[in-house]
Subunit: 168 residues, 2 copies
DNA sequence: TTGTGTGCAAAAGCTTTGCATGTTG
DNA sequence: CAACATGCAAAGCTTTTGCACACAA
């Protein structure tokens, strides 16, 4: 994943953000909500709701799917988690605090997901927002294709504007 | 939608493409498959599988959901139909023959979908394909936001590189 | 204390599958 | 006539909802 900075206080920071969000919206600070937030930020990228539920269960938390879905939505609302649809009928989630905006390249053969940044997408967003009189809040850009060779190789980006790193 | 050309022979052309695809893959040319293809090309953009099924039913075709889903997959395979996920767990389809490559801007308030073209996305695709050694076959770019004002206004694009038109 | 949040399970919604029948090649 | 496609309905999966109980404020 593409980190903005390596910060050991990330967990504290995101908890604070979450707390503010809950307060601002008159929502309760339950242990389940914080437990889910913590587990998400301990894990690495791209997971689905069921995997998170199973993970919570194996960590001996007593949570339900309903709470997992509920909390994921809250976290998406306060931008601590991003929700993706990588072409399947299964939502994928990803923690987003401390990460640069990035997009995804998905191998249709092996399912591998790479991340990349390209400044042109920002230009497109702002131009199209103006042109179409839309207040664009977010976007989703997925490139689909096949890894060349063994579906395993990657190469570092060299352009200063384009950062690339493998995920999973 | 963004048409490449206005062609009254579209139906014939797509039928031929579909026939070739069926032959090439040893699949049968059934009346149901052609009926579904025709109905899709008579309709305007962005529909889901259930809507198509209902539409077939009201047209007094005797088709099943299974056949609708099966045929949609065949049509996606031969590039006569494009499948989208606009952030929901519901696949949306769109006929694609004779249309320019385009991307989508979705209003999160009223669900309106606009289409736009931007050449920069092609540049990003080819650059990232090279950089990450991926053979990129397709992509999906969705911009999400809110219509300004009454969720109804649109404005024509004026840049020669960027064509814009409202859908639905 | 009071009302929101939770767990659990059932329901809902989209998509796929199984099976007997129909039809293409 | 043999294999594949279809219709129908049931099953599968992900996500949402209802309800009684728990607990944060």
């Amino acid at each position: 994943m593409i980190k903005e900075e390596a910060n050991t206080n990330t967990i504290e920071a995101v908890k604070n953000i979450f707390s503010s969000h809950l307060e601002k919206n008159g929502l309760r600070k339950t242990p389940e909500r914080y437990a889910i937030l913590e587990e998400i930020y301990k894990r690495t990228d791209h997971f689905d709701a069921e995997a998170l539920y199973i993970h919570m269960k194996t960590q001996n938390y007593r949570v339900s799917r309903a709470t997992v879905y509920n909390t994921l939505e809250l976290l998406v609302n306060c931008d601590l988690v991003t929700k993706h649809q990588f072409g399947k009928n299964l939502a994928q989630y990803e923690k987003s605090y401390g990460y640069k905006q990035h997009d995804h390249l998905i191998c249709v053969d092996c399912g591998k997901v790479l991340e990349f940044c390209d400044p042109r997408i920002q230009q497109i967003k702002s131009m199209m927002g103006d042109l179409l009189r839309f207040n664009i809040t977010h976007h989703s850009l997925n490139l689909y294709g096949e890894c060349e060779g063994a579906c395993e190789r990657t190469r570092k980006a060299d352009s200063p504007d384009n950062k690339v790193e493998e995920v999973r």
